[in-house]
């Protein structure tokens, strides 16, 4: 069996047994071809992925000498500074740290499940479902710059759509500077993320729901399921692998969030994230060491969180397969 599989594998690959004649010269041209094809992609990867990650790790143990402009080894100083800042919430590092985990919760526990329900509802081909599917996807084809800009028009303090509506309804006391008020800014940015984030998940999950054999759903219908039972007992288990992927993507994305708060509130009013802190440190403060330490911590925490979530998702999947 094993031998057969191996032979098959070889077949798939080819190369050596396809061009047996004059094999040495052929082999050389083949190797040159492989080299030429891979040269640039690998170089690009080595620089921008491999080297950058390694260098980030190195930077996190170094501090910039402001006079000489050189990076010097400094042990765990950056990490100490980072943790102090987080604990004392100086430069709102603590808030940023907390927010990153709130975003994790938002992406995994709110946006994912809402998307799933939306996909389920739209899979019933309710009136206007094509229109909804098309419109929900719009945030994915428009630049985040324009999306956040339009969002800020909606919530602008004067001449903003929401405040205007409130005034028209005589609810003047409810109007506020939505994106400039520590009480509402973060929740507003969260709502933005839900508003703009459902469409993509909906596309992926709808694709998975459409692939469930229709006889399974009909069979459940004859079995007499309610919509809720159909959703929980048939739909969710059937598309669990896809939902797991969507969830993992959301979890990973949570640790990269920075554009939304940056563009909507400049990271102020308690909306910053660790990723945004990294960006701010590099582009603003120039503290490369601290930024890199934050980057490393972010990557490690992200890895642990995603790993745990994946464990859970896999356990559910094992139960159903």
């Amino acid at each position: 069996m094993k031998k057969l599989a191996k032979a098959k594998d070889k077949d798939k690959f080819n190369g050596s047994n396809a061009v047996k004649l004059d094999s040495k010269r052929k082999d050389r041209t083949r190797n040159i071809f492989i080299f030429l094809m891979l040269a640039w992609p690998i170089l690009n990867w080595l620089i921008f992925t491999f080297y950058m990650n390694l260098e980030t790790l190195a930077y996190s143990f170094q501090r910039l000498n402001r006079f000489t402009g050189e990076m010097r080894f400094s042990g765990l100083t950056n990490y100490k500074i980072l943790f102090q800042k987080i604990i004392n919430n100086s430069d709102s590092y603590g808030t940023a740290f907390r927010n990153t985990f709130l975003w994790l919760g938002l992406n995994v526990l709110v946006i994912g499940p809402i998307s799933l329900v939306v996909s389920y509802v739209l899979s019933k081909k309710i009136p206007l479902h094509r229109f909804y599917n098309a419109v929900l996807f719009i945030p994915n084809i428009i630049s985040i710059v324009i999306l956040t800009m339009v969002w800020s028009f909606i919530w602008a303090p004067n001449q903003g759509i929401v405040n205007d509506l409130l005034r028209m309804l005589g609810l003047d006391h409810l109007t506020r500077v939505w994106l400039g008020d520590p009480d509402t800014a973060l929740i507003n940015v969260f709502i933005y993320c839900v508003w703009a984030g459902i469409g993509f998940n909906n596309l992926i999950l709808s694709g998975a729901i459409a692939k469930i054999p229709k006889e399974i759903l009909e069979s459940a219908e004859l079995d007499g399921v309610s919509n809720w039972q159909e959703f929980i007992h048939i739909i969710v288990p059937s598309i669990w692998p896809t939902f797991a992927t969507v969830t993992i993507l959301g979890a990973t994305a949570a640790f990269r969030v920075f554009l939304q708060p940056q563009l909507l509130t400049n990271g102020q009013y308690g909306t910053s994230t660790i990723a945004l802190k990294v960006v701010d440190e590099v582009l603003g403060g120039g503290d490369y060491g601290l930024a890199s330490a934050a980057g490393v911590v972010m990557a490690i925490l992200g890895f642990i969180a995603v790993y745990l979530i994946k464990k859970f998702l896999d356990k559910m999947e094992a139960k159903w397969s």
Binding site: I34, N140, F200, L263, V279, S292
Partner: protein, 277 residues
């Protein structure tokens, strides 16, 4: 389709989805309507229809801002960036999927590992690297887009895996070389992957904000997304909102038009590329 919804559930679902859909569209309509008003008219009546559909704001947007130049650079960056991304991804994927050699599997897992690590964290060394190599310009941007080991490669990879090698063998017997087999035989057969990769890459590059915002330091060379952002920041001081509205409409119109025309293709492309960031 399975079990149908009962009347009340259906009505609730329709109402909620309709409100959501309206919230996604209405702001653009609001921006569109107000883009025809003069600044004082906008301040006095945000909700009325414009007194006249004058194109003043659009002319100003084109003249006073560099909208046309933004468009030019966005188009250049998108075309070049997308083309390079497609070619390099296809090249890498083809070799990894169809040629057996030492390190093949290792390179593939490197690629996978690469896009699992969050890139934002590595900004500091990237910044230093770009500064040292003098890549704070459009060339640097293109170099960074010219990747061949990202999710696009994975899409091509799964396609090439499915194509039988006997086509290549037939071509070899006809006297074709390796590159000709790749370019004239295999790549055309992976047309569906090319469409998916092309569409999604183009949309992503066109809409990208972060990379161009740090790399493009020359104010004369800016993409639409970056240019619009700086316009928005300026508005906070001179408050000519209506011009910004016109600019927003100008910037979104091409994308929306393309989306309306190619909606099925675009959705399919995203679905296939599906599981990427």
């Amino acid at each position: 389709m399975g079990r149908k919804f009962s009347k009340p559930v259906l009505i609730i679902a329709e109402v909620l989805l309709f409100i959501y859909a309206v919230s996604l569209i209405f702001p653009y309509i609001w921006v569109f309507i107000n883009s025809f008003k003069s600044v004082p008219e906008f301040y006095s009546s945000t909700w009325s229809l414009p007194e006249s559909f004058s194109l003043t704001n659009y002319i100003r947007a084109l003249k006073e801002t560099n909208m046309l130049s933004y468009f030019k650079w966005s188009i250049i960056v998108t075309l070049v960036g997308t083309a390079l991304q497609m070619i390099f991804s296809a090249m890498t994927a083809f070799v990894l999927a169809k040629y057996k050699f030492k390190g093949n599997a290792f390179i593939y897992s490197c690629a996978i590992a690469g896009f699992l690590i969050p890139t934002t964290g590595t900004l500091a060394p990237l910044y230093v690297f770009l500064k040292n190599t003098g890549l704070f310009n459009i060339y640097g941007l293109i170099v960074m887009y010219a990747t061949g080991m990202g999710t696009n490669m994975v899409i091509y990879y799964s396609f090439f895996k499915k194509i039988s090698w006997s086509y290549a063998e037939a071509a070899f017997i006809d006297g074709a070389g390796h590159f000709r087999v790749f370019w004239n035989i295999m790549l055309p057969m992976a047309r569906e992957a090319s469409i998916a990769v092309g569409i999604t890459s183009a949309i992503r590059i066109w809409n990208d904000y972060f990379l161009p915002s740090i790399l493009l330091t020359n104010p004369k060379v800016q993409t639409v997304a970056v240019g619009l952002r700086s316009l928005q920041v300026q508005q906070q001081y001179n408050a000519t909102w209506t011009v910004l509205f016109a600019a927003v409409i100008l910037a979104t119109l091409p994308t929306i038009l393309l989306y309306i025309i190619f909606q099925d293709k675009i959705s399919k492309g995203f679905l296939m590329g599906g599981l990427k960031e």
